[in-house]
Symmetry: C2
Subunit: 315 residues, 2 copies
């Protein structure tokens, strides 16, 4: 497939670098600062180098990228909370041209779910967003396969960095601050880790799941989620839990029309107690009982891969 | 959808009883001894009662059922090893009429994979068989979604009764014979448990998975599997494992063109160490790393449900 990638941060760049490996060709890549466009496939190495060195010579305006020849637009502008632009306009432009859209930006999806579905409905294009929820773990595909109306609850570990921190605190008896410094050094958490440790990232994913389960009957945004992070969790709480055969995890949950994210005490043997940066999602289903799907949590590389897998699902 | 159910053992009967709950209508139900056929939907209660009391009055020959009005044929004759009749003829009859086919009989599928795919290719009908591998856990759907050619290995716990036995032996320090008696009393294992405890059931599922991964490039049957069961496992082996933070599970594995089933020593914390009758399948994928899918293991009820979920996937 020919793809246009809008968004040049780390995930957008990773998508462009990996596209060929998945059998796809990047015909446009850029953002508001300028874009590389070539019907035969852009020179990826050159484009990535130019973006990294902030050399925008030889680029076209973003409008040219949005008008370029592509089958699928990947919307990969950075996730932000509280406003859905310019991502929303990129999606609108693609659907208007009856192109398919793959979303990476979870803020946009959590904020404007119903509007995006409406744009999709008015278009011949299709919307996919597996990359927005636990990266390459195929949760959205599984929910669609089982039929969202037969799923009564979803809970899980949706964020890798916070799970890594809690795992290290529990196994090494360390306090929050020292583990946070460690994960920042390892590049697992950003310099500004609030998005992960305050539960916002997990909450956005739960909002997306809640909207999918509702199938448009009602609409959720981040304001509907009760969110608590792990930054105030004392190391002593984890020590107490471990001594009792339990542990603490940042659990996200969608059930009974409620969205909740917060630290929860769970048995160490529980399937929810995945380790390190792993993620898990548990589905309570009408026909198949409780299903667990787990694997690597999302990072820059897996998020890019998840978006490209969505492109492959469209072909 | 209108469905014809061929096979009147416990699973066939459970399918007929549950069909309505999934929004489907049974228009034919029977086996070589006779069949109930009604274009408007058979009288399920009456048919089930007649079969259970072995009262075949008022039934038609099976040929009438195979010629009846239906969208999907569910082949639910009992799994047998070493011969694929009469199941194969039932599938052939349905595909010849361009109907879809849902398989429950794993022996038939493991024995004649390529032939069945050929029948499907020559027909407008579609073949589905999620129910043959770990029941309602959507492993086949996930493998198809990810693309079988991108999966390098599959391993897991494919059999509930043997896993229940091993779990009880490990946690209670009991020996094999006493736990086997218990599971037979609970109805978890059949009076003849060899199919479960000798690893045949797990091996058939691995053969099916291996054929799906090969996509017809080569064909596997049960003869290609190295199979070892758990009947000779001394309780002392489990005690030793547990003392060392490990446990023993009957693991099935497809990798490097090999199919192996046998008791394996694994860490107690391993995701493979599911408890009781639960099952898990681990996929080693090119793009998404290691994915785990787990849930309830197959029994009569979940197998019937899995077959009906496959019918829903066709509609």
């Amino acid at each position: 497939m020919n793809i246009a990638v809008v968004g040049t941060s780390s995930v957008g760049t990773a998508i462009v670098k990996k596209a060929h490996e998945h059998g796809h060709t990047v015909t446009a890549f850029g953002d508001a600062d300028g874009a590389f466009v070539d019907t035969d496939g852009i020179d990826v190495a050159n484009a990535v180098e130019n973006r990294e060195s902030r050399d925008l010579s030889g680029t076209d305006p973003l409008e040219v990228a949005l008008d370029a020849s592509y089958d699928v637009l990947i919307e990969a502008t950075p996730t932000s909370v509280g406003h859905s632009q310019p991502g929303y306009e990129h999606v609108r432009a693609a659907f208007k041209r009856d192109r398919d859209v793959v979303l990476v930006n979870k803020g946009l999806l959590a904020e404007r779910y119903r509007d995006l579905r409406q744009l999709e409905e008015d278009s011949l294009g299709e919307l996919r967003f597996e990359a927005t929820v636990v990266g390459t773990i195929p949760v959205m595909t599984t929910i669609q396969d089982l039929d969202p109306t037969t799923i009564s609850a979803v809970r899980g570990i949706f964020n890798g960095p916070s799970n890594f921190i809690l795992t290290r605190m529990a196994t090494e008896g360390l306090n929050y601050e020292s583990v946070l410094a460690e994960v920042q050094e390892l590049g697992i958490a950003d310099a500004d880790p609030t998005f992960d440790v305050d539960g916002i990232d997990a909450a956005l994913q739960c909002v997306i799941v809640a909207n999918v389960l509702e199938e448009g009957n009602s609409e959720y945004t981040l304001d509907d989620a009760a969110v608590e992070g792990i930054a105030d969790l004392p190391g002593s709480a984890l020590d107490l839990a471990v001594g009792d055969g339990r542990t603490i995890r940042l659990v996200g949950e969608v059930s009974d029309d409620q969205i909740r994210v917060g630290p929860r005490l769970i048995p160490e043997q529980s399937s929810l107690a995945v380790s390190g940066t792993d993620n898990i999602v548990q589905l309570e289903t009408k026909h198949a009982g409780r299903l667990n799907i787990s694997g690597r949590g999302a990072d820059i590389s897996t998020t890019a891969t998840a978006a490209l897998m969505d492109v492959s699902r469209l072909s």
